[in-house]
Symmetry: C2
Subunit: 332 residues, 2 copies
């Protein structure tokens, strides 16, 4: 296992030390494994909390900051954080206007966030609402999911809803917006290689060099099918076609993310995006904004995913609003 780590069971704790050292604008609670903005947002604003298993960086800790999340709970690699982490974070970030939990649809995350929401409400009277993202068109159910998996739209949602929270919208409005973003987003991913979880010490799955996994999840869980490795143009087709088949993206602006799984270099992500852009143009999708890079990853997996959000002028305006995190930063 060729990794920059000390011991497999120390990966998260050690990585959080690095985050704390690199980012004075963040505050890391090492005991609870929560990353906070060092300067909380103003009183009376809705707070946003997310979290999930580690190994998807920059999601979620890299999206903590003005214009996006107020905090992120970090679980062990590919393992949900625990309810006590979430309760602690919920209580800390509440500014009196309630907290939106942003949860990717994986069974462990959904269960733990639900429990934490109830506990925080019961113990501290914090009002909690929850959005569960489920944008992955690849499969209906999966290894760790009932229903569709929550993947790339989570990044776009955290950005757009984060902007709305900064504007002072109340919790109902923030939740409604989050639902709108999730309902209008679709994703599809693929892998060229497996990832290797440190605690396992070997690849999660075996993938012959001449094959690729279409519709893979962000933990290396199986996708739709394993097919022969092809060129980027064909890969783009296999990613874009199921996304466009699932929702009509015509008639308005779209926001598109070409996301790397962690092990594919940026030159390949741009190359693949060139093919994706061609297909979207042919299909009459009007791409208003684009993001190319590693945003929701799967450790060292080589591969990529495409996320398309059917937006409108309001969503594009919120997308363009200032954001100041290590993973996304503009307008500040």
């Amino acid at each position: 296992m060729q990794k920059l780590i000390n011991k497999p069971d120390q990966v998260l704790a050690d990585a959080l030390r690095g985050v704390a050292a690199a980012h004075p604008e963040l505050r890391v609670d090492h005991q609870h494994r929560v990353i906070y903005r060092a300067r909380p947002k103003a009183s009376g604003l809705v707070a946003l909390l997310s979290g999930g298993g580690s190994g998807h960086e920059p999601l979620h800790g890299g999206f903590v900051g003005p214009g996006m999340l107020d905090a992120a709970c970090a679980g062990e690699v590919f393992t949900s954080p625990t309810p006590d982490q979430m309760v602690e974070a919920t209580t800390v970030v509440d500014r009196g206007a309630g907290v939106l939990h942003i949860v990717k649809n994986y069974t462990g995350d959904v269960m733990n966030f639900e429990m934490a929401g109830e506990m925080a409400a019961a113990d501290s009277g914090v009002r909690v609402e929850t959005i569960v993202t489920d944008d992955d068109v690849a499969v209906q159910d999966s290894t760790w999911t009932a229903g569709r998996r929550g993947v790339g739209i989570t990044v776009l949602l955290e950005k757009i809803v984060g902007a709305a929270a900064e504007e002072g919208r109340d919790l109902d409005a923030v939740l409604a917006l989050a639902r709108r973003v999730n309902e209008n987003g679709r994703s599809m991913g693929m892998a060229l290689t497996s990832c290797t979880v440190p605690a396992a010490g070997k690849p999660t799955f075996d993938l012959p060099e001449d094959q690729m996994e279409m519709g893979v999840g962000i933990h290396g869980e199986p996708g739709r099918h394993r097919v022969p490795l092809t060129g980027a143009a064909e890969i783009a087709e296999q990613l874009v076609e199921p996304v466009l088949a699932d929702l009509d993206f015509q008639g308005g602006p779209s926001i598109v993310m070409l996301n790397g799984m962690g092990g594919s270099p940026l030159i390949e992500l741009y190359l693949l995006y060139g093919e994706v852009a061609t297909l979207l143009e042919k299909a009459g999708v009007q791409v208003a904004r684009t993001l190319v890079g590693n945003y929701i990853t799967s450790l060292d997996m080589a591969g990529a995913s495409v996320t398309v959000l059917r937006a409108d002028d309001e969503l594009v305006r919120l997308w363009d609003a200032p954001v100041n995190t290590s993973g996304l930063r503009w307008g500040v």
Copy 2:
């Protein structure tokens, strides 16, 4: 070869199409393979041009934009751009105040930029000055280098000198600043795996799973020595020690970059930075600013490098100045 590409000989052209599609704020000259700011800087300001082989993204194309480069010439993967690309770009970006060429110390780049500078001066009367970066402490000479290789400091230099150019400093002052940054920067890198050049189709070098290459270059050229794979704490020591041994970083602020080689996930880079930060603190180095992520990569190579710049208040101020590129963005 598990890559998101079409054909090996189309990688650069295809990737540039993706860059153009993703970034309306850039202008891509596909014929000359140059990436420009879509809106040139104001007349009378010194322009900054860099470039080199592709495969190091976001360097250099990802650093084109206000506050950094005016243009970047893209060579084929790990191959210098040609003088005619550089002459074209030099002529286009000149705003009447001359052009600084920022060149990493590799024989092909140095030779071609030198030729291009002379040609641009002779043909169009553009005043050109050149800074050759050579911050890699690993080896004195290397496969493609006489003298030390130019690596991570190039990123910091493009940012800091870019800010100075925006302030209106003349070419002599910009060159002097570039020399100051280069002279005060040191880097050291390591690899856990080889990279695979598309045209070669197989790893550049063989590295057993239980070994690592210390002092590796950004093209997979050999480093100081091959040693048994160890934990991140020991890797950090082997990176930091030769950097600190080469220059005294005490007594002022330093800017530190923990750079990923392309194939190592962000969680590992943060983990390694945690170890680096501990060592720097022990050594009395005052870290004023930190950058953790993939900035000067080597395709899909797993590994990392450390760059430390002995700065001062002026360099930190220029570092903090607004920059608006896809690879580095803040203050805008």
